[in-house]
């Protein structure tokens, strides 16, 4: 329990940091972007919305920074992220809420597929490390992990979507078939998610393979493996139950670092496929200089990543009792 509490406190502090960053960034930027925005919006949006924007960015306010910060926190506590400019007058929280599910579905599923598949391949390759498969896998995995996500997305889109016409070119569902819990609709959703998911899996797979391989190889020389061999256990049993089990834990710790990169890659992938998730929204917000939406998205993405990391930490604590006792 102490472990859980400590991790929880850590993530709360991390979340507070990202909230504070979110508050400080627009106020520290040169040239006062918010004020420019206000000038641009004058007369185009209602005085009410203008007031809301002013409050949010602390423009034309004579309150000092501490008071502004307090107001910002209060607004946040009420789930008030302001009003989007692109989708005026819809609230930022509503706009984000509509996109969140797509990102969770796409990036979440792709990450899990990639982690499971990559870890399994890493185990397999480490076990067969003196074969041609291993010598082939290592450089290929390195090369594919070096692909920029958006570039592979473009290529996949071009070849499988455009030239061969096997998959749809954009969006998350067909216009004629609104998302629902019916079989044809689910098939349609999967059909649309296939290419972006493929892109994310291909680029992120290499990292899992290599790190699992690196963790697994030292564990193959451990005494208990020799003992298991001597005892005449089946190869499969030794591979999965003995060697892989112990090597899996360090791979799980790498999750925190990897997740940030995968989410970043997923965002770029969504942009290429016009997939209506948070990443695509972030791009729209960025090109329209929709600062309230931009800020809200940054907060939401950070929150999602922190939450996922917390979940992995909890899992780690369950799997490895030593973690609960050690000082972190």
């Amino acid at each position: 329990m102490r472990y859980v509490r400590r991790r929880l406190i850590f993530y709360l502090i991390a979340f507070w940091t990202s909230i504070t960053l979110n508050f400080l960034i627009p106020r520290l930027m040169p040239g006062n972007p918010a004020e420019n925005l206000m000038m641009r919006m004058h007369g185009k949006i209602s005085p009410y919305a203008l007031k809301a924007l002013e409050a949010e960015f602390g423009v034309f306010q004579h309150a000092n920074l501490a008071v502004q910060y307090w107001r910002y926190l209060i607004a946040l506590a009420h789930g008030n992220l302001g009003v989007s400019i692109t989708y005026f007058p819809i609230r930022v929280s509503t706009v984000i809420g509509q996109s969140l599910i797509w990102t969770l579905g796409l990036i979440g599923t792709a990450t899990i597929i990639s982690f499971v598949l990559g870890t399994w391949l890493g185990i397999w390759v480490a076990w067969h490390r003196h074969t041609a498969w291993d010598r082939l896998t290592v450089p290929v995995a390195m090369f594919t992990s070096a692909f920029p996500y958006f570039w592979l997305a473009l290529i996949v889109l071009y070849v499988l979507g455009f030239v061969l016409g096997w998959f749809p070119l954009s969006g998350a569902y067909s216009n004629t078939l609104p998302p629902a819990l019916t079989l044809p609709s689910i098939a349609d959703l999967l059909y649309h998610a296939a290419l972006p998911a493929l892109t994310i899996v291909v680029v992120s797979l290499g990292g899992w393979i290599l790190s699992m391989r690196n963790n697994m190889i030292p564990s193959l020389n451990e005494d208990y493996i020799q003992l298991a061999r001597a005892a005449g256990l089946k190869e499969r049993t030794i591979m999965y139950q003995y060697a892989a089990r112990n090597a899996l834990l360090p791979n799980l710790t790498g999750f925190a670092m990897a997740l940030g990169f995968i989410v970043a890659g997923g965002i770029l992938t969504e942009i290429v496929f016009s997939y209506p998730g948070l990443g695509f929204l972030l791009y729209q917000a960025s090109s329209n200089q929709d600062y309230p939406l931009l800020q809200g998205l940054l907060l939401m993405i950070s929150f999602a990543v922190l939450l996922a990391n917390f979940a992995v930490d909890l899992l780690y604590g369950r799997l490895d009792p030593r973690a609960a006792r050690s000082e972190v």
Binding site: I13, M29, Y149, L157, N221, A256, A264
Partner: protein, 314 residues
């Protein structure tokens, strides 16, 4: 007090000869390790390509011609863009800004990692706690969205802004690795001994810690270059950098803007992406070989392996 000098003469007489052969051996191992050699050759190849750009592809790569969206021909080896620019010449010239930003941002990021990671761990106490806390927090706050937001506020980040944005979000990974290495070294006898003989903090860091961390620092530098190139190319692709310079990222931005793939202009998209993947892959190979030299088990050498297996296995 003259403490820094009291212990030096005897120490150095002993330390120098022992350091030299070791580093020479490391270099030899590096060349003998094929993984690393391939990586270095590819990377140096791109550096040379960038340096020799005026020789290889003379003329301004942004020059607009009448040959629009031409597929590869004898004259335009990699075809042309929607504005009739030579893709070949753009790829060659694009090497420069891409590598320069990657290099400077990588160096700055590594410097930050060293200051925060090594500095925190060496001093210990509250300073270390704060440094660790910060690196752990910034590792879990996703970098690319933060960069996109910062770059949007900065309106098309120029080179300097881009380098600063990348370094500001990239340092915690290295800081964490270097910190744990420093902690491990700090307890070792030779560091304790140096401290007892009254060497200054900077002297210890310089003479005792750095020589033992150099491979880690180099590996970290190479990964941050990879990170920086990836981040830079992504920002450029989104149009958040300076879209008027010719770089691999801005090439892809313009290709996207002109819907190159819808026109079937694969020659415009594929070359810059392959180059990015080659540079990234080359750096990963060099890093891998550093790993392999430090931990020979990781090599997938068939002969030694079979012997090894026969010796220990069934």
């Amino acid at each position: 007090m003259m403490t820094p000098f009291t212990a030096s003469p005897g120490d150095e007489g002993e330390a120098l000869p022992s350091v030299k052969p070791r580093s020479a051996r490391t270099w030899l191992a590096f060349v003998r390790n094929r993984t690393g050699l391939i990586g270095i050759v590819i990377f140096v190849g791109f550096v040379v390509l960038g340096l020799l750009a005026p020789v290889i592809a003379p003329g301004n790569p942004a020059t607009i011609t009448m040959h629009i969206m031409s597929p590869p021909t004898a004259h335009y080896w990699l075809g042309t863009t929607a504005e009739g620019q030579s893709v070949w010449s753009q790829v060659i010239w694009g090497t420069r800004p891409t590598l320069v930003i990657g290099f400077i941002a990588g160096a700055l990021t590594t410097a930050l990692s060293i200051i925060i990671g090594v500095g925190g761990a060496y001093n210990g106490g509250a300073l270390d706690d704060v440094a660790t806390m910060f690196s752990n927090i910034f590792i879990v706050i996703p970098g690319i969205p933060l960069m996109i937001v910062l770059a949007t506020y900065l309106h098309h980040a120029g080179t300097v802004a881009m380098i600063l944005v990348i370094s500001a979000t990239g340092w915690p990974f290295g800081a964490r690795v270097l910190r744990s290495q420093t902690l491990a070294l700090r307890k070792r006898d030779f560091v304790q001994a140096a401290r007892l003989t009254g060497e200054s903090t900077w002297g210890i860091v310089q003479r005792e810690l750095f020589p033992n961390m150099i491979s880690l620092i180099v590996a970290n530098f190479l990964s941050t270059i990879m990170y920086a190139i990836g981040a830079e190319v992504s920002l450029q692709f989104l149009g958040l950098g300076n879209i008027n310079t010719v770089s691999w990222g801005s090439m892809l931005y313009w290709a996207g803007n002109y819907q190159a793939l819808a026109f079937g202009a694969w020659w415009w998209i594929i070359p810059p992406g392959i180059c990015i993947a080659l540079v990234g892959g080359a750096l990963a190979l060099v890093n891998r070989s550093i790993d392999e030299i430090a931990n020979p088990q990781l090599t997938s050498a068939p002969k030694r392996g079979r012997l090894h297996r026969g010796g220990t296995g069934s």
